[in-house]
Every structure is written in C-alpha cells, then in structure tokens.
Symmetry: C2
Subunit: 479 residues, 2 copies
C-alpha cells in the first residue's frame, strides 16, 4: 500500500509542537516516546503500519479544541482514533501526523428515557452504551462484531452496522446529534434530541465521513426498548445459491427478522472445528433470528419454515432453549477468530441489493477458481452486506498481491450489480483507489469540495477515503 | 414577508429563454401565459404570492438536465416544485425565476421486493407509491397529512414525516438513493438499493436540503411489509400537561406505538363539530395506535392502559371494530380542514425532546394569554413534533403581525429546550430569518459554503432556507 511521502518534520518543529500540546493537555496527555507510539502504528488492518509523530489523549472537548487549534496553526495533520478497531485502516497514521485518541473520553453525560436518547462522550465503547441503559430495559441497536472494544467515535466515523442492523438500521439511523470540533478548534453542535433540524442536514453528512470533516467528541444516540425475547433458527442447504434465494424469499415475503446470517461450507467447517457448535455438514447455513413475544416468535418461525421448505433444506433446527440458542450463535460469533487460526485472510465489505445474492455468490465461486485462492463467506445476508474472506499465505511471495487483485474484482462486481464498495467498514486507506470504480471523477470532486469547506488545509485524517493522487493534489494546492 | 428585489428581466431575455426552453421541452413543456402562471404563484403557504417568469413541466431526467443547463447559462434562478403542498413556502417563486415542476414525472421505474425497494420518478405522489406495492403486501412508511397530493420530490426536499414516523422514521430513514440533476445540467447518481456507500454521504445531505443543491428526479425508496393489523385507542385527560406526561411515560416504558397523536380542548371541539367523531368533552386527548398480531395489539394496549390509569384519564376507549377505529381517526384527520372553517390560522412545526412536552405546552398556554390570540394544539406527540395552530383574523389590521411574533416566540422556545425550528415542514421562506435563533452565524456560513459547492451561482430555489440578507449577499458575490 503506497503512502504519501511525509512532509519532513524538523526536530525543532516537533519540539515546539510537543511543548505547546503538553501545555494544553498536560504531560500525561501527550505521548512522544517511540516505544509508546508503537501502540498507535496501525489499527485492525495490521498489514500496514507507520508510527505517528505524537499521540494525544485529551479528556474533554475543550482539550480536543485546544489540541486541534495548535495543530492547525502549525500545519500538522491529525488522525482521529476511537479504539483503533478499523478493518480498513481508517485510523492509520502517517509519519508526519499526530494521533488524537478519544479513549479517555468515555463518560455518560445524560440519559433521557422519555426522549429515548443517551448522550455520551464518543470514546465510550459501543457495548457500554447499552450497559448504561439496560437497567431500564433499553439498548443501543447498532452492534458491530467488535462492540466490546470499538468506540462510538469510530462507529460514527464509519457509519457502523452489525448483525442486528437488518431490523434497526446502522449508526446513521440511530444518531441524533453530535458535538464536533473543527480542524481550527471551533466547537460546533449539530442535531440534538429531536427530529432533523432546518437547513442542510450536516449530521447525515458527518456520519460515515471517516474523520475527514471534524473530530466528534460527544454524541446523542437513540436508544430502544429491549424486545421480550428472541430466538434463532439454523437452516442448512446444499448450495450457496439456494441459501441466497431463501434469504431473498424471506425478505420478499415481508418478514423482517432481526438478523439473517449466512455461512458457506468453508466457514461452517472452520467454525465447527473451533467452537463445536454442532453445525450440520452442508454447503450453506443460515442463522435467522426473530424477536418479540413468544406467540410472535412462533408465528414468524412458522412462516420462515414454510419458505425454507420450498428450498429443500438439509436441516431446519429451531432453538428451544437459551442453551440451544447460544450454541447456534457460538460458531457464527467465533467466525473471525476461527478463520484467523487456520489462515491469513482479507475480509471484504461489499454490499449488494439482496436480490443479487445468488448471482454474486456464484461469481465469487468462479473467481476463486480463476485466482487459485480459497474464499469463505460469512455475512449479514438480510441487508446484502457481504464479508467474503479471501485466504492467502502471507509468507508466500506474491500471494497478498493476488489476494488484493481478487478482492478488488469482487468489490467491482458489487458495484456492477448495483451495490457498493463498503457496507460498514469504511474506505480508509484500503479502498481509496477503488473509489474510482464506484464514483465518476466529477462525483469525487464534489465530495472533495465538501471536504474543502470543513477542512480547507486538508489536515484531517490524511491519505484516506479519496484516491491518493487526488487527495495529495488537494493537500498540496492548499499549502 | 420581505422578498428580494427581482433582477430586472428584459423582454428580450425572456423571449430568448422561452425560445430555448421550448426547443428543449416542446411547446407543452413550457408555460408562459400570465393566466396559466397564476397556478404557480404560491404553494400551500398562501399568504405569500408572486408569479414566476415561466413554468416548466419536463417529462424526463434528460429534459430536466436540458432545462437547467439553459437556465444556468442564462443565469436564471430555478424554483423546483413537487406538488406545491409546502406549508413553509418551499416552492414559492420569485418574479425573475422559472418554476420547474416534476408533476408529469410520476412513473414507477422498478420494484424489487427481495431488496425491499421501489424506484420511482419523483413527481409520483406519496400515496401512490404505496399503491404500487400494496398488492404484494408492502407499503411506503412516511405519511404526511398531504399524502394524497404531495410528491416524493417534495418529501425528499423537506425530509417529510407523518403520523406513523414515530415507529418508521421520516423520509431520510426510508430513502436509499436518488438521481439528481445539478444546476449546470449534470446528472448524478447518489446511493442506490444498498447500504450507505463509501466516501461522504451526500444522500443524507441532500435529503431535507429544500431544493438548494439540485433537482431530484428519481428516487429509490425503502418499502416495508404491512403489519397484520392496527388498532387505535382514545384517551382523554383533564389537562394538557397530564396528557403530555402520559406520552412521556408511554415512551419511557419502552412501548413504541406506531402513532401518538395529541389534541387539546380547542381542537377536540372544532373537530367534533366538523366530523362528529364522538370525542369526549375534556381538556386533552391522545390517539395512540399500536399494530401487529391480535395478541400483540392486546398486549400493548394493556400496557398503555396501565400507564394511562396512573394519570387519571377521563376516558379510555379502545376501538373494537374497524368502524370504531375509523371514528377515532376521523376527527384527527379532519383537524386542518376543521380549523380552517372557523378561523385563519398559522401552523407551526417546532420539534422538541419528548420529555419537554408538559413544560412547552404550559408555556404556549401562557403566551396565548400574553399575545391575546387563541392557540390550538394538534401534533405527533410521540416524536415531539408539535404543530401549534395560532388563530388570527386576516381582516383585522395588525393581527397577522402579532401572530407572526407569537409564532416566532414559540419556535424560539423549542430551540431553548433543546429542540428545533422545524420537524417536517422545512424552513422555506417562512422561517429563514429565525435560522439565526437556531444556528450561530459560523454554522450558517458552513451550510452556505456547502451550498456554494453544489450551486456556486446561487440560482437554485432563491431566497429560502438561509436568512435573506445572507443568501442575497452570497448570490450577489457570485454574480
């Protein structure tokens, strides 16, 4: 992965920057030692690494504003970071940049159950937002796999989804307002505990903008009441295409399960070996979860059974207890750990119209033969958010490059059938050059012109989202 | 309402413009006669009127593009128009502008039930979107009161809501993608039948942008499966505050009815006189509708009954038949016609956090005494979207001005308690100067800088959304 040549940073400039930032954040708010900076050299896309010049750990919005103001005055690029769980390199530093981590800012600022909102500092982890409201029977719906670790800041930056987003929507559908610090240190309030405000909807623009427009330090989030109960069913099929067609038919019939997860033969085997979940020996498996009262659950599972029968399932297993439900989910939840044990892999994040699932699965199978690399499929099928895992050997010269080419072709296929490059992981550094397959140059110019408005010096989260040549040209022009 | 002095249009320029547009759209695509232009002199905010220079009725996206290109070249402002049902003057012309109406563009382009989407031309009316899919058991959720007439184009421009948006969200939560024509005639595709794309989320920005950024000609909309059944309950209270507190408690308990509508004594009386709905004689009335299977409906109504009892309702009436359900809704649905029969009125659209309902209702009552004008309340209480109706006498000199001052104070109160100026009607010309109460000058500058990117000449939908002095300054600077 090519990165831009860093602006040379003189020792004098680094010393002055460190001194000013230390005055603003205190000694324990600034990390400058090389050994400590190693912790920030990558996020969860560990294939690419580069330590930043400094890392900052502010405690308040005012401290974030002070730090950004200093960096703005000294023309230092800033990489905002939540918990660093990005799979797309969204929080990867450049050598001349400063990491601004919000992990210490994790307080609950307000809960208002009548308005169904909670206001938190954005360093708070996704799961602990639910933790703060579940005593009253509420929860926060978006549930990325990394929810134990990932921060709301990163969820907002990437517009994160999760298994339950089929029913509840992704982050943008559950975000009501933010406090954001602009690159020049100005603090702005956007949205709030109310419906869409007048004027341009900057909140919609900011959600999913990958740290390109500002640093979000506080967020007002929609909370929902927990359903009475939930139950998964496991359905096995003798081909990927048939399983994909069954997903289409469930949605077409107007049933909206809370989750429809898909696994193919490779993942079934790998997860079964790892988690002993008791999965059947078959080509493809769906886990469909429905929720509500007991009567409602039974009714929905009955309809799903009728639809599944028309696709000749090799197995249809309803969970009848919490223990059985746990076993059905155990394999799926362990999927990424399990596959990581057997091979290096690249996880894609293409998203397609659900009706295209059978065709796309077939084409991915054909490509796997052409490229000579195995591929496993495990994903949120109900909303068409695919996560093909391409297996490769990091120690075999050339294998990563073949894998990258294969991945790019899959993502182009997603665009071709009316889908897009990314569902919930974001573009980051990983897919920035593929953006030209999704967008015409004029479209990208328009997006970059919007960035110009928020960050005219192009200092925020450099070298990401836009094709590298384009963003570098903008940055240089702004100097 | 002050409007900008129109740029003087010479007869020669008008003749040339008419000739070029007629060549592009055909003779029946261009309306130039004064008598015919009267139809376009206002929208549903009928207090303000001004005929446009011309009106255009294109049939395709290509024709819209051709028309905009010509207007762009000739520096002619363009006012996009759906069905003209805006309550905020969102489609009001200026004398030097051209109306671009999309009413002829009303085709269904594609339905895809497995992907839960429909693609339509945006001149299609809201209700006829549901009409196109209900045969398969689906519906389009946002339901403005004007849904029989209002166009999807206007719904997108205003981010429209409706009674059922408590459960299903407003337009932005149900919009997947658009085809939009830029002011210079370029056609762009944004979003599609898939989750959020990479890069900046321009779709979120465009929804609710009131025709400031481009003309949306086609839209991909999320469709949902119809619930098994639905049932309203009517609950009467002896004060507005107690009714407001009951709404808070229902939401706080985690029940999410599909609608919670509120009416105060004035509206109860006016609607009863008009529709003979059998409403009780009381201070405030809630209509709460729940949906699902019969068992689920009974369960939810049971919980609502328990909560209501704690607020000593003077009446709790469950509908037990379709006929009774119809009667409960009849009065509410007739509210705007009913009040229009008895008085001139101004309909506000402030939105607040639900927990602030009792306080805001009390303050509006106090203001009503101070200003000496009666006020009626009828609104979507569950999501805090208030529609206070201030009654005045259009024939009494000074009464409209007192009404405007009263309205402005109510909207400022909404902002003060953490809400905003508009929930679903938009800013239009009506609230543009109040934007300074919601936003700091820097915030508005930021929004206007984003508009600069899309419409650098400031030709699209002039004199709206932003304070008039600011938008005029931008327009003149761009000349």
């Amino acid at each position: 992965m090519q990165m831009p040549a860093p602006n040379p940073v003189t020792l004098a400039k680094k010393a002055q920057l460190t001194e000013r930032l230390t005055a603003a954040l205190g000694k324990d708010g600034v990390i400058a030692e090389d050994i400590a900076l190693k912790a920030y050299e990558c996020d969860a896309l560990t294939a690419y690494r580069c330590p930043p010049m400094l890392a900052l750990l502010p405690r308040t919005t005012a401290e974030v504003a002070a730090a950004l103001k200093i960096c703005h005055e000294m023309n230092v690029p800033v990489v905002p970071r939540g918990s660093g769980t990005s799979l797309a390199g969204g929080a990867m530093p450049t050598a001349d940049s400063v990491i601004l981590g919000v992990s210490r800012m994790n307080a609950v600022l307000e809960t208002d159950f009548a308005s169904r909102v909670i206001r938190v500092q954005t360093g708070r982890t996704n799961l602990s937002v639910t933790g703060a409201v579940e005593g009253e029977g509420f929860f926060y719906a978006p549930d990325p796999s990394s929810q134990l670790a990932c921060a709301i800041a990163g969820n907002i930056a990437m517009n994160s989804g999760g298994a339950h987003c089929l029913k509840y929507g992704v982050t943008t559908n559950n975000l009501m307002g933010v406090t954001m610090v602009m690159m020049d240190g100005e603090i702005v309030e956007i949205g709030g505990a109310h419906l869409d405000a007048g004027g341009l909807d900057l909140l919609g623009l900011i959600c999913g903008s990958e740290g390109q427009l500002g640093v979000v330090t506080e967020a007002t989030l929609r909370i929902l009441h927990k359903p009475e109960g939930a139950r998964p069913v496991l359905i096995g099929f003798d081909s990927n295409e048939v399983a994909g067609a069954c997903v289409s038919d469930i949605i077409k019939a107007g049933i909206l399960p809370v989750a429809i997860e898909f696994m193919d033969r490779m993942l079934i085997g790998v997860c079964e070996d790892y988690a002993r979940a008791g999965y059947p020996d078959c080509e493809a498996l769906l886990i469909v979860e429905v929720e509500g009262s007991e009567a409602e659950i039974e009714h929905q599972l009955g309809l799903i059974h009728e639809i599944a029968k028309q696709h000749n399932p090799v197995e249809f297993r309803k969970a009848t207890s919490a223990d059985e439900a746990g076993r059905i989910w155990a394999g799926r939840k362990a999927a990424f750990s399990a596959i990581g044990k057997v091979s290096d892999y690249m996880c894609l994040d293409g998203t397609i119209p659900v009706s295209q699932l059978p065709y796309v699965l077939k084409r991915i199978g054909e490509m796997s033969k052409t490229y000579g690399l195995a591929v496993g499929n495990v994903f949120h099928a109900g909303d068409g958010n695919m996560h093909p895992l391409i297996l490769y050997d990091a120690n075999k010269p050339g294998d990563l490059e073949i894998c990258e080419a294969f991945g790019a072709e899959v993502l182009k296929l997603c665009v071709e059938v009316g889908g897009c490059l990314t569902g919930e992981h974001g573009v980051g550094i990983e897919k920035r050059d593929l953006m030209l397959d999704q967008f015409a140059p004029d479209d990208l110019d328009m997006q970059m012109a919007v960035k110009d408005v928020f960050d005219p010096k192009w200092l925020l989260n450099p070298a990401k989202v836009f094709p590298l040549a384009s963003s570098e040209a903008r940055r240089i022009a702004a100097e």
